[in-house]
Symmetry: C2
Subunit: 313 residues, 2 copies
């Protein structure tokens, strides 16, 4: 239906080409150097962060800020908090890949952190990434013009990654995989929605909110970006589920076919691959529709939705 | 030299009897209920938190605030942030007890979290405790009278528990135990000091700073409480090292004799038990001296130092 490089996703691709180096240089500048004591943990943290990553969450924060007309000065201010989203995302990958959880060997095109540094160091590296991430978000400078922005952002992020968000999603994901599929299709549908929204959707939405709140967007803008983020998060996760079936380890940078092997509750598992694709297309349309309602950001946000949804086709 | 209940530690004991119920009821009120979805993680979090704990770090925050003459209203305001210190401490225990790290079966008088809920859930429960802890600290209300207090506190706590603090101490502790003792006694001494200060000392100091900064203590008070905290942290850790040799699982609520079995770098291992005791007494005197320089808090803070140091005698 769509091709690898539709014109629609081009703007998003160019945007990521612009933001990725900025985000990576911010991470490089702010993370402790590998030589700093204790060196092992700083090496493990940098190893986990500097694999090939899309840096999607920081880019979403910047896109949302630009949609609110943020000046260059404001964008510079937001950059450390945006980069912190990547630390938090990386922490979740490092812990989820551990033997006790998803037991993955490959991530971001190379061996997982625990395969290289051992389990103990991977657990501690994840802890360090989470600590540092919340720290960078919480320290964000707060001008009088945007009083309360920092608290609101920290609250949004913490909820998005807490037990009712990312951690909660991972818990239900594990429980759904451990052979305890619910009795009915309705219960499975409900659980799948909870997992997807909690595990990925909420941090994607919170990343957009970080950008809009810090650049002084009004309540209506916040509400619109929230709706768009929820739809984008769903696109992201359905596409991810499909890619796990259709992709290769080389194209994904992580192991393929793991979901089915682990009995995970996914869109293809619950609906079959064709119906999963149809649902993705429907959600893609919804995301584009919601992007159209965001003045100042329509083109880029629609393009990002296309890029995210079309990964799997 | 000292007995189990010296008169000096009595004031601290009474203080803990007063603060512990307040802290525990704050934790109970603010943590998600066990029934909330996903129930497993909320049960695991509460299991980890509500074992028998001294609640020392929140009590230190309250003691420091009282030493600054904090009103009842300010103390009420500080309570969630103080309780958050217990979440952060508990996260460190849950992760340190994991099989990949210290592999402990007993903690706070009962089975460790991973023995009851499994490794995956223990890793996620630790993650949840850390997330929630930093969230409560970062959301702390900030009045104009104490502008900037929240940022300063979050910075102090994050540094105390980051890779140059608690996590870093755990890393060097693991590396020191893995048979890679340093070549020289000087190098071992340096490493032991780093481990103790980073692993326990810094969060103990940061707990005191949370109280003094949030109750508007001036720079000189902050500096004095910082010095006292560093000494108290050292007392705590030497006493802990000694207790691991002399205590029983029943008296400790955790396994005894683990340090030696795991080849840990401790005061008794490096200096022998008698010299370790002498060093503890010297540090106890130093802490009492430093407490005497804190107007408004001398009696309580000296008593706390005695309580902490005399645990092992």
């Amino acid at each position: 239906m769509t091709t690898e490089t539709t014109p629609l996703s081009d703007a998003a691709r160019r945007f990521l080409e612009r933001t990725t180096p900025e985000i990576e240089s911010t991470l490089d500048r702010l993370l402790p150097p590998e030589t700093e004591r204790p060196a092992t943990i700083h090496r493990a943290v940098r190893y986990a962060v500097f694999g090939k990553g899309k840096r999607l969450r920081p880019a979403l924060a910047i896109a949302a800020a630009e949609a609110c007309g943020a000046t260059r000065a404001i964008l510079e201010e937001i950059l450390p908090a945006a980069a912190a989203l990547e630390l938090i995302h990386t922490y979740s990958l490092v812990h989820d890949d551990l033997p006790a959880l998803d037991n993955d060997d490959l991530r971001r095109g190379r061996l997982t952190t625990h395969k290289v540094f051992g389990e103990a160091m991977a657990i501690l590296a994840g802890d360090a990434l989470l600590t540092q991430g919340l720290d960078w978000i919480g320290r964000f400078p707060e001008g009088n013009s945007r009083a309360g922005a920092r608290s609101r952002v920290l609250a949004e992020i913490s909820e998005a990654i807490g037990t009712k968000g990312m951690i909660g999603g991972q818990v239900e994901d594990l429980e759904a995989s451990s052979g305890s599929h619910a009795d009915s299709r309705d219960a499975d549908t409900d659980r799948l929605q909870f997992i997807h929204r909690a595990k990925t959707g909420r941090l994607i939405t919170a990343s957009l909110l970080l950008g809009v709140i810090h650049s002084g967007g009004d309540d209506s803008k916040v509400a619109r970006l929230r709706s768009y983020g929820d739809s984008l998060g769903l696109c992201f996760q359905i596409a991810d589920d499909i890619l796990d079936v259709t992709g290769t380890a080389e194209s994904l940078g992580k192991s393929a076919g793991k979901d089915e092997a682990q009995g995970k509750l996914t869109y293809p598992a619950l609906y079959g691959i064709d119906e999963a694709r149809r649902k993705l297309q429907a959600e893609r349309e919804r995301a584009l529709d919601l992007a159209r309602q965001i003045e100042g950001g329509t083109n880029l946000l629609a393009s990002i939705a296309a890029l995210v949804a079309d990964r799997s086709s």
